[in-house]
C-alpha cells in the first residue's frame, strides 16, 4: 500500500485557537477517503493545512512521500462552494480553464491542449452544454460540478475536496459520485470532507474521523463502531476546550520552540 498522505503530529491553530491536536495518520493511494466529524472539529482546517493554506504550529504533512511544493502539480484542491462569489462575471468554461493555470505559467498563452482538457473535464461532469453560460445563472449542484471540472482539468493524482455534496441536488450528487468512482478506478486518490454519516458509509473506502484530535483513521468498517462514533460525536472534551481557550487568551504557544516535530 502506497501512502498518498501522511501527517505527523499535525497541530494547527486557527485565529490563535487550537483546532487540531497532534493529528497523525497515513492514507493509502487509490482510495475514496472521507473526513468526518462534528462541526468545528477541524475538518476544513485539516484540508487547508494539507494544502499549505494554513501553517501548522507543529508537525508536518507528506504527500506521496514528499513536501507539498515538490508535488504541488499532482494535487488538486476544491474549496467549499461558499468560498466564492458566484456573481463573478465569468463563464463556466473560464472556471474550468483555471484548472490549467500554473503558478509560473500565468502570463503565457493557454495551449490548444489546455482548452481541450478543460472541455473534456466539463464533459465528464455533464456541464459542457453550459460552457458559455455565466456562473451566476447556475444552480448549486451545477456550480459544484463546475468546481469539480476545474479540479479534473488539473490532471492531478490526489484530489482534496471540501464538502462537495453540501446543498447539491440529487442529479448532481449522482453525477459527482459516479465520476469519483471512475477516478478511483483510474488509480486517483480522493479525500473528501463530508458532513453526512449515513451516506459516508456508502461512499467511502477509508475514513478519517476527527474531533479536534484524530479519533480513528482506517477502513470504513473499522471506523464505524459505536465507540468511535461516540468519541467523535459525543461532544467536546470539556477540559480540552478549556485548555484551548486558555492557550488563546493567554497567548501561550501550542508547542515549545524546541519541540516542533520537524521532519528528519
Amino acid at each position: 500500500m502506497n501512502t498518498a498522505i501522511e501527517t505527523h503530529n499535525l497541530t494547527v491553530a486557527y485565529n490563535r485557537r487550537p483546532v487540531l491536536w497532534d493529528v497523525d495518520f497515513k492514507v493509502p493511494e487509490g482510495q475514496l477517503i472521507g473526513v468526518l466529524g462534528p462541526n468545528g472539529s477541524g475538518k476544513t482546517t485539516l484540508l487547508k493545512s494539507i494544502m499549505g493554506l494554513i501553517k501548522p504550529s507543529s508537525g508536518y504533512v507528506r504527500l506521496f512521500g514528499e513536501d507539498l511544493d515538490t508535488v504541488r502539480s499532482r494535487i488538486s484542491y476544491v474549496p467549499q462552494r461558499e468560498s466564492v462569489d458566484w456573481e463573478f462575471p465569468i463563464s463556466v468554461r473560464e472556471v474550468a480553464l483555471m484548472g490549467r493555470y500554473r503558478k509560473n505559467k500565468l502570463l503565457g498563452r493557454l495551449s490548444k491542449t489546455d482548452h481541450q482538457l478543460a472541455d473534456e473535464a466539463l464533459e465528464k461532469v455533464g456541464m459542457l452544454p453550459f460552457a458559455d453560460r455565466q456562473i451566476a445563472q447556475l444552480s448549486g449542484g451545477q456550480q459544484q460540478r463546475v468546481f469539480v471540472a476545474r479540479s479534473l482539468a488539473q490532471q492531478a493524482d490526489l484530489y482534496l475536496m471540501d464538502e462537495p455534496f453540501a446543498g447539491v441536488d440529487a442529479a448532481s450528487e449522482e453525477a459527482i459520485l459516479t465520476l469519483l468512482k471512475e477516478m478511483k478506478q483510474a488509480g486517483k486518490t480522493v479525500l473528501i470532507v463530508h458532513h453526512d454519516l449515513h451516506t459516508a458509509r456508502q461512499f467511502f473506502d477509508w475514513i478519517i474521523l476527527l474531533n479536534t484530535r484524530l479519533v480513528k483513521s482506517g477502513s470504513t468498517e473499522s471506523v464505524f463502531t459505536a465507540d468511535n462514533l461516540k468519541q467523535a460525536y459525543g461532544g467536546q472534551l470539556t477540559i480540552l476546550s478549556q485548555v484551548s481557550e486558555l492557550i488563546k487568551d493567554r497567548e501561550f504557544p501550542m508547542r515549545e520552540r524546541s519541540h516542533k516535530d520537524q521532519p528528519k
Binding site: D22, V215, R250
Partner: protein
C-alpha cells in the same frame, strides 16, 4: 495661547463649549456605529451632507444653522436609504454601495458648492468651512442650535442605552425578545445622521468619520464593558473638542478638522500600543512572561528528573548535568537559575552547583505532576499513542491552572502512574480526595 485657557473671553467659552459638546456627542453616538461595524457608513453619511447644506443655502439664501441642519439631515438620510437599497436590492456589495454613494453625493455637493461660490452670492462666503471644519467661525446661533441638538442626542442615547446595546449586538435576539428592532434601528440611524450633521461644524465632512469612530476604537482597547467604553470615548471626544477649539483660536487660518483628527489618532495609537490587556505592548509582555514561566518550570523539571532515579531531590546539581539532561541555552539557563534563586526555589551552593529548596521541590513536583496528568489525559481521553504525548505535554504543562488540575484529577480519578509507568508526584495534601 495661555489666554485661551483662562476662558475669560465669553466667545472662547461659547465656542469651546460648542466643540466639546459636539465632540462628546459624536463620540458617544459613534460608539454604536463602531459596535455595529458601520464606520464607513458613517463616513459616507458625512460626505453626503454637503449637498444638503448647499441645497438649503440655495433654497433659502441664508446660512441659518437650522436650515442647514434640515438640509443636512435630508441628504444624510437619503444617503443611508440609498446605501441600504443598493446593497440589498442589487448585486452590489456593501462596500461598493458605500463607496458609490459617498463619492456621488459628495461630488454633487462639490458641484453645488462651487456653483454657489462662482455665483458670487454675497452670503455664501464661509460655506466651504463645512469641508474641514472651523470651530471658531461658529456664531451664537450655530452654537445654540447645534449645542441643543448635541445635548438632545446625548439624552436619547442614555435613555435608550440598553435597547441600543442589544440591537447593536444581536438584532435577531432583540427581535425574539420583542424589541421593536426596526424602530430602534431607525432611531439610531437618525441619531447618527444628526450627530454627523452637527459634528461637521468642528471637523468638516471629509474627516467626520474619524470623530465618530476613533474615540470608540481607542476606548475599545481599554475595556470590554460598553459603559466604560462610552465614558472613555466621551472623554476622548471631549479632549479633542477642547483641542480643536484651542487650535481654531491660536491659528485662525488653519482648519480645525485635521488637528482634531490628528489628536484622536494619536490617542488611538497610544491605546493600541499601551492599553493594559489588548494593547500590543501588554501582549508582548504577556508572551515574555509566558516564556519566562516556561523556562523556570523546565529547569525545575530537569532537577526533578535528575533526582527521580535516586528518589533524592535535595542533592546538589551541577550546571553541566542540567544541560546534559536538557539542551538549555546557557544564557537563558543562567538567567533562569538566578530568577529561581530569587523566588526561593534554589540555593546556590558553589560556583556552578545548585540545590532545590523545599519550596523548589514542591514546585518541581507540581510541574511534573501536571505533565504526567496531561499525558494520561491524552492517552485515555484523546486516543493518543503513549509515544506521542510527550511533546504536547511539554507545552501544556505550563498552561494548566489549579482549577484545571483539580478537574483533571476528578476526570482521571487520582491516577498513580502516567502512560510511561512513572509515578505521578502528589503533594501531601492532595492524597485521596473524594
Amino acid at each position: 495661547m495661555s489666554d485661551f485657557f483662562t476662558f475669560s473671553d465669553p466667545n472662547v467659552r461659547m465656542v469651546t463649549l460648542g466643540t466639546v459638546l459636539l465632540g462628546v456627542s459624536a463620540a458617544i453616538v459613534g460608539t454604536f456605529t463602531f459596535l455595529r461595524k458601520r464606520a464607513l457608513v458613517g463616513d459616507a453619511i458625512a460626505h453626503a451632507i454637503l449637498p444638503g447644506v448647499c441645497l438649503a443655502f440655495i433654497v433659502t439664501g441664508d446660512k441659518h444653522p437650522l436650515y442647514l441642519l434640515v438640509g443636512a439631515v435630508a441628504t444624510g438620510w437619503l444617503s443611508l436609504l440609498s446605501m441600504d437599497y443598493l446593497s440589498s436590492r442589487t448585486k452590489l456589495s456593501t462596500d461598493t454601495a458605500i463607496g458609490a454613494v459617498l463619492s456621488v453625493f459628495f461630488g454633487a455637493g462639490i458641484l453645488l458648492l462651487t456653483t454657489i461660490q462662482h455665483s458670487g452670492s454675497a452670503n455664501q462666503a464661509g460655506l466651504d468651512k463645512f469641508l474641514f471644519g472651523k470651530a471658531a467661525s461658529m456664531g451664537r446661533q450655530d452654537i445654540l442650535v447645534f449645542g441643543i441638538v448635541a445635548v438632545l442626542l446625548l439624552i436619547l442615547v442614555l435613555s435608550f442605552f440598553r435597547a441600543f446595546k442589544v440591537v447593536s449586538f444581536d438584532p435577531a435576539y432583540a427581535r425574539s425578545i420583542g424589541l421593536p428592532v426596526r424602530q430602534l434601528e431607525f432611531l439610531l440611524s437618525t441619531i447618527t445622521v444628526l450627530a454627523v450633521a452637527t459634528g461637521i461644524q468642528a471637523v468638516g465632512v471629509v474627516l467626520m468619520a474619524a470623530l465618530l469612530i476613533t474615540p470608540a476604537a481607542a476606548a475599545r482597547f481599554w475595556t470590554d464593558r460598553i459603559q466604560v467604553m462610552l465614558l472613555l470615548a466621551a472623554a476622548f471626544g471631549l479632549l479633542s473638542g477642547l483641542f480643536g477649539s484651542w487650535i481654531s483660536y491660536s491659528a485662525p487660518a488653519m482648519p480645525t478638522g485635521p488637528w482634531i483628527v490628528v489628536l484622536l489618532s494619536l490617542i488611538a495609537i497610544v491605546s493600541v500600543v499601551m492599553a493594559p490587556k489588548r494593547g500590543i505592548w501588554a501582549r508582548i509582555r504577556l508572551q515574555k512572561s509566558n516564556a519566562r514561566k516556561m523556562l523556570l518550570e523546565n529547569i525545575l523539571k530537569t532537577f526533578y528528573s535528575l533526582g527521580e532515579s535516586r528518589q533524592q531531590f535535595d542533592m546538589e546539581v551541577n550546571v553541566t548535568e542540567l544541560v546534559t539532561k536538557r539542551p538549555f541555552d546557557s544564557k537563558s539557563l543562567r538567567r533562569g537559575l538566578h530568577q529561581l534563586q530569587r523566588k526561593g526555589c534554589l540555593i546556590k551552593k558553589s560556583g556552578n552547583t545548585y540545590q532545590l529548596t523545599t519550596a523548589g521541590i514542591a514546585e518541581s513536583r507540581r510541574v511534573v505532576r501536571l505533565h504526567r496528568l496531561w499525558e494520561l489525559y491524552l492517552t485515555e481521553r484523546m486516543n493518543y499513542a503513549a509515544d506521542h504525548v510527550h511533546n504536547t505535554a511539554e507545552a501544556i504543562e505550563h498552561v494548566i491552572t489549579p482549577e484545571l488540575e483539580a478537574a483533571l484529577l476528578r476526570e482521571l480519578g487520582h491516577p498513580i502512574l502516567d502512560p510511561h509507568d512513572s509515578v505521578i508526584p502528589y503533594q501531601a495534601t492532595q492524597n485521596k480526595k473524594s
